[in-house]
């Protein structure tokens, strides 16, 4: 058994929401939340408005 990718802890997933304002982690969280696209295969989020 070979772990290729480590699991992500639940608290890590929710960290962008729970992060402290002073730490700057929310800005990083915004990036995390915008790189989740499984439709376009490009890492975008379908979040972009626009035709």
């Amino acid at each position: 058994m070979k772990v290729i990718i480590e699991p992500v802890a639940e608290e890590q997933i929710l960290r962008p929401v729970a992060a402290d304002a002073e730490s700057g982690e929310v800005a990083a969280g915004m990036v995390i939340q915008s790189q989740c696209c499984v439709v376009h295969l490009c890492g975008c989020s379908c979040d972009h408005a626009g035709c």
């Binding site: 992500v8 890590q12 997933i13 960290r15 939340q33 499984v38 376009h40 979040d47 035709c51």
Partner: protein
Amino acid sequence: MEQDGWVPSRFNLAFDGPANGSLVIFNTLRGAMVEFDAEESVTMRGAMDSGDAAAIPAALRQGLLDCGILVPTTLDELAIVRARKTTGVADSNRLDVVVMPTIDCNFRCVYCYEKHAGSSMAVPVRDSLVAFLEREIPKFKGVMLHWYGGEPLLEPETVLVVTDAATRVAGAAGATLALQMTTNGYLLTEDVARPLVQAGLREYQVTIDGAREAHDRLRPLGGGDPSFDVVLANTIAVLRSSSEVQVSVRVNFNETNAGDVLPLLDQFPDDVRDRIRFVFEPIFGHCSVRARAAIEDEEISRLLRSWHEHAAAGGYASSVGGVHAGKLVYCYAERENQLVVSYDGAVFKCPVCDFTTEAPVGRLSSDGTIARYDDWTLWMDVPAFDSACEACVFSPLCMGGCRRERLKTGGLGDTCALVPQNVSYVLKQIALQCEDGLIPLLGLTAHHGGEASI
């Protein structure tokens, strides 16, 4: 018996590994990927098929539990996914504001779903928008202000005035402000771009639908004249105006221009390519030119992969994206603290509509508050997941599909079809590259030891 306490996760995706007889399992809830040799694979396939973990040796068990591939029988995995969505929808850290200073446009793209009525954001509405931003931005840690339309650069003064106000308020409040614009690029001349870039607008999305002939056929000016040469020149110029500028080049395609996409990749000079990311979008919706009317899903997926690989090889920032565990919502329009403000102060949730027949969900008041209508409640009350999503192994990656589609049609629409093919492709690429000891690959970042995403 102790073994009775665990079962295979409902969110395991299994596929043949790169080595002979090996098996790879990816858990969509936790984002872990594990490869099993041929002997272990027999055991794991048996457990997956039967849903019974009793035959899994103790030596493997703890590792599988750590990766979420095996879970306690008492664990409600669906509850975790639902909780993520609830958290994401209610996220009070981030405000997303999409502003449409006009719904008019100087283009007449053949597939556009908007009606481009003459329209302009009047000064009182603009002042109300500034008042809204002054009230709201200090409440949030992160704010995204996205310019959209119509063509927002038909109203450059509004863009500058509101952007400057948002920057001032965010700076005073210590909020992180992300500024973006979706433009057709025709009016993004050096004179227009300079003050925008200086104001902090450095992320643009410009659509170019392939090489010149294809683009000009799909995206002509209102009078029918071509637009390709000007859009390309403006895009290159804005990228060269500042090393901080980044452009997403969106390429909408159907069967009529799919063959013209790769030649577009030759059009950009080397010095700007690393700040261009391509977004290839099958023309969607219910119009006659939609991609799925003439191209099979499997072929769309193959085209996407091929184009992204060519873009990456050509030095663009584009790459085949990763598969990211931990998404909280399907798209930003699901979130409570998100809204689309139209030129007349009407408020919407989703920007994909024609803005004339669509009923707004609220209205911007002169004091900067938002009067929410019943349609806002209807939008937010759409169930977090469709019943089909709750049975779908991909739901932690997708988070439930398009809320607008589910509200309007009661169904999930057709984007679901691409998800399994695309995810499978990316996962197999990861497994293959990891076999060669090559992480990251194709722009993927493989974080170990508790980082946020794969």
